[in-house]
Amino acid sequence: MGDQKYLSNPYPFMSAYTVNANNENPEFKGINYRKTKASVSKKGLSIRGKAMLPEEDLKIIKKELGREPTLVEQGCFLNLWSEHCSYRSSAPLLKTFTTTGENVIIGPGDDAAIIRFDDGYVLAIGMESHNHPSYVDPYNGSATGVGGIVRDIISMGARPIALMDPLYFGPLDTPKNLFLFEQIIKGIAGYGNCIGVPVVNGEAFFDKKYSGNPLVNVVAVGLCKEEEIITARSQKAGNKLVLAGSGTGRDGLGGASFASRDLSESAEAEDRPSVQVGDPYTEKLVIEMTLEAMEKGYVKSCKDLGAAGLGGASSELAAKGGLGARIITDAVPQREPSMNAYEILLAESQERMLFEVAPEDVDAILALVTKYDLNGAVVGYLTEEPNYTVEFKGEIVADIPIALLTGGAPTCEKPSVIPISQVEKSKAPETPKDLKAAFLKVLSSYNIASKEWIYRQYDHEVQLRTIAKPGEDSGVLRITDKKGIALSCGCQPRATLLDPYNGGRTAIIENAMNLAVKGAEALAIVNCLNFGNPDRPEIYWQFKNAVLGLGDGARELSIPVVGGNVSLYNESDEFRTSILPTPSIGMIGKVDLETPLPSGFFAESGDTIILVGETTADMGGSEYYASFGAQNAGKVPPVPENAPEILKALIEASRSGKLRSAHDLSLGGIAAGLARMCRNTGAEIDLTEVAEITADELLFSEAPARALLATAEPDAVLEILKDVPHLIIGKVGGSSLEIRGKDFGISLSLKEISDAYGSLTRFMMG
C-alpha cells in the first residue's frame, strides 16, 4: 500500500535511481540487458554512484542468480527486500503474536485478515500506517493512506464499510505542526468521504515528540459472505494477469525504499516526488468495478498495487500460489510518455488492482473496465516455471527465481538494551491547591478535549450502519438486524515510553474496555507498530517490549492479532525528535443489537452511578502529570489481574439492557470521564470511599480496566457486577457536576465543562 511505515535503512533514499558501477553494460546468460540508465539520467534524478543494494544483499543475490542482477532486477530486490515489504528486522518479533483463533479464517499474510462474523458474513480487517508521506505531503500522504488500506479490503472480495484513524501530532503551537494537522485531516476526509466509507472512530494524540513526524494510521473494515472471499493466492498457470484502474505514471517511484529511512531536514522538498497522489474518484470506480467483477466470478485471485507497484503485486500474487509470472511492461496503460521498464514495474501510482483472470473471462472483465471509465489491460500471465520474468520492448529485462525475490530476504534480530538513561525521571507534582483549576486544565488538554472539529469533517453516516457515532468510546455499526460490530483504536504512548511492556498491555485492555461498554466482545486486533530508529538499541528495546506487552495482553483476553504493519525510523532531524513508542491498535468486536446500547453520556436524572474497577495511586504516563510538566514521573499503573473478569461483567451488564450509560475511563481518569458524561445533565458524586489516596490521584489516576455506569436498576446491575470491584458513587441530575472527597469538593457548571471540553474545536475555528 504505498505505505511508508517500515523501515529500513540500509537503503539510501532514491537509490532506486543509482546505478551500480559494476552494472554498466552487463550481458548475462541470455538476458539482454537494456540500458535504462540513459533515460533515467536524462531526467536529472540523482545518480550517486553508490551501490544501490546493500553489499550483503547483493552478495546473496549474485550467488543465487550466478550473475550480476540487471538494473530492473536490482530495482525489484531493492523494493521487495526493503524493510517495508519484508519486515526484515521485525519479523522475528512479530512471530510472537498469537494470530489464530476459532473465528480467524485468514490471518496475517494476505492483503487483509478475514474474521468469521455471523449469519454467513465475514469481516475483512486491515491496518496501515502512512507516516512518512504524511509528513512530506500531508494532504496526499494521508489520503493515499486511506486509499491503500481500502484496496487491501476490496482485494479480499469485501465491500469496505468502515474506517478508523488513530493520529499522532506535534503540539499545535507551531505553524508547521498546525499545517500538518489541518492537511492530514483534510486528506483523510477528502478521500474517505468521496469513496463513501464512513470514519466511525479515531484517536488524536498530541505530544512534542511527534513534531515533524506525525503518525497517520488507518484501520479499514470490509464485509462479505464467506463464499465471496478472494485471496492473493494465484490459482492456475496460463491464467492472465489483468491490471485495472488508473494509468501508471512515475509518481511514487521508490516509495517502499523511501519509507525505510528517517526524515532528514531536506526530506520534505527532496522526497515530494516519492509521495503518491490520490484520486478518490477513481478509487470509488475501482471499488465498484472490482466488486462487480468478483461477483460475476471473473476474478480468480487479486492483489492491490501498493509498495513496489506492479512488480510487488504480481510477483507476490504468483509466488503465493507457487507459480511464476511473465509481465509484459509495454502492455501497461501509461499516463506519461517514454516510461522505461523500471518505472512501469515499480511506480506506486495509486488506484490500481491486479486480477488473475481465466483466458475466457478476459473480454468480460475488460468490458467492466470500460463500463467504469477505467484503464485496464492484460499485462502478463501466470507460468508453471517458478520464475519472475519481465519483458520490455521484446526483450527480457528481468528473470529471477520468484521465491528468491519474494521470500529470500534474510531477517535479523537487532541488539536490544535496557535504556537505563532513556527516560529522565521527573518529580511528581504536588497536589494542587486549586483542584478545580487543575480539573479544567486536564479536561481542556487537546488529548482529552472533544475531537469534534476532526470528526465533523468525516462523513460518518454513509452506508446506513452507524449506530454509535464518533465521540463515543467505540463506533458501533449495524451488520444485520440483530448483530453489529464495535470498533475502537489507539494506544497510550506516554505510558509506553515509561514502560513499554505495560504500555502494550494497556493498549489492549483500553480498547477492549471501549468495546465492552457497548456490550461488545472482541473478535480480533490489528496493529501499527510505530517506533523510532531500531538501529538504536534502546529503541529496539522499546519496540521489542511493547510488542511482547501487546502479545501477552491479547493472549490474556484470547483475542487474536490478525494483521498490521511496522513503521520504524520515525525521527525528525528538523525538530530533533524521535517519536514516543506508539503501538497503536485497532480492535473489532461483535455487538448484540437486540437490546438498546448504553449511551456514552448521562441521560436521566436519578440514575445511579457506579464506578467499576480499582483506582490506584500510580500516575506514570498520565495526562495529569503531563499537564503539570511531570511527563516522566511515576510508575505506569499495571493492568490488573482481574481485567478479564471486569470485561466479562461489563459486557454482560451492557447487554442486559439495564444500563442507560456506560463509559470507559482512560486519559484524565475519573475527572475526565465524569465531565465527558455530563454533556446534557449534571451529576452528584461522592468519591470518599473509592480509595485511600490523595485527591489528585483519585481524580486523575488512569489505572486501567475501570468504567463509569449509570442505571435506573442498580440492584440488577450490582448483581451482574458482584464478582468484580465496584462502588456506587452518586446520582445523575442537576445542572452541574458536584464532586466530593474526604478533604475536598469541586463544583463545575455544565458550561464550564463544555467550554473546557471544546478547547480544540474553539482553537481551530477561532
Binding site: N193, G196, P280, L464
Partner: protein
C-alpha cells in the same frame, strides 16, 4: 411502480437509497448507471448523494451535463417526481432544473452532523405525509451546501412556497446558530415551480430507520410513493 436511482461515477449513496426504498418503504427501485441514458418504464427518479466525478470542476457540474439528465428532464416534464439529495441537489441546480446554487460552506470544511429542519410546505409530492411547521431531524454531510440565489429568485421561492425545509433550532426558530453552512434564509431544500422536482442537502435516507437516530426522513420517500400511486 418503479423508481430509478441514478449512479454516476463517484455516487456513493445509491445503495443506501435503494435499501430504504426496497427494504423499508417496500417499493420497487433499481440503480441505473449513467451510461444507460434511457429511463423509460420508471415512475420517478432519485439522484442520490456522493461525489459525482469527484466534485471536480464544481460539485455536480459534470453529472449535470451527462445525456441521462435529458431523460430526467423528460420524465419530470411528464409530472413524475424527481428527488435530488445532497450531491443530487447540486446536480439538479447545475442542470438548471432547480433555482439557485450551492456553494462552499461558510466555514469552508466538510460538515457531517444532525440538523433540525422545519417543514415549510406539505404541498409537494415529497412532503404530503408531514405537518406544516413540524420540526424534524436529519443529518447533513457536505462541503458545498450553502444555498445561494439572487434576491429576486429568493422572493419568488418564498412567494410560491417553493422552500420545503429550513434549518432551525430545536424550538423551530430560524437562527444563525442553527444554520450549518450559511445558506440564505436557512434554506435546506426547495422544489421547482411545478413542485415535482425536489432538491435538499440533508439526507432523508439516513433518517429513515430509528436505530440510526431518526425515521423522519422516511416520510419523504413514502410521500413520493403515494404520489406516484395516486397519479401514475
Amino acid at each position: 411502480m418503479k423508481i430509478a436511482i441514478l449512479q454516476f461515477g463517484g455516487t456513493n449513496c445509491d445503495l443506501d437509497v435503494l435499501h430504504i426504498l426496497k427494504d423499508v418503504v417496500g417499493i420497487d427501485a433499481e440503480t441505473v448507471w449513467y451510461k444507460q441514458e434511457n429511463l423509460t418504464g420508471f415512475d420517478g427518479v432519485v439522484v442520490p448523494g456522493g461525489f459525482s466525478y469527484g466534485d471536480y470542476l464544481r460539485a455536480g457540474a459534470i453529472a449535470a451535463r451527462t445525456p441521462i439528465m435529458n431523460s430526467v428532464k423528460k420524465l419530470a416534464a411528464e409530472g413524475k417526481p424527481v428527488l435530488g439529495i445532497c450531491n443530487g441537489f447540486q446536480i439538479l441546480t447545475e442542470a438548471r432544473v432547480l433555482e439557485g446554487a450551492l456553494t462552499t460552506n461558510e466555514y469552508p470544511k466538510f460538515r457531517c452532523h444532525w440538523t433540525n429542519l422545519r417543514v415549510e410546505t406539505v404541498d409537494t409530492p415529497f412532503t404530503s405525509k408531514f405537518r406544516k411547521g413540524e420540526i424534524i431531524r436529519m443529518p447533513i454531510a457536505h462541503m458545498e451546501g450553502q444555498f445561494y440565489a439572487e434576491e429576486k429568485t429568493l422572493a419568488e421561492l418564498d412567494e410560491n412556497e417553493q422552500v420545503v425545509f429550513r434549518y432551525v433550532d430545536e424550538n423551530g426558530k430560524v437562527t444563525d446558530a442553527a444554520n450549518p453552512n450559511g445558506s440564505l434564509e436557512n434554506i435546506a431544500g426547495i422544489v421547482n415551480p411545478s413542485r415535482n422536482i425536489f432538491g435538499l442537502m440533508p439526507h432523508p435516507e439516513r433518517a429513515s430507520e430509528s436505530i440510526l437516530g431518526s425515521d423522519h426522513g422516511l416520510r419523504v420517500f413514502e410521500s413520493m410513493a403515494d404520489y406516484i400511486t395516486e397519479n401514475f
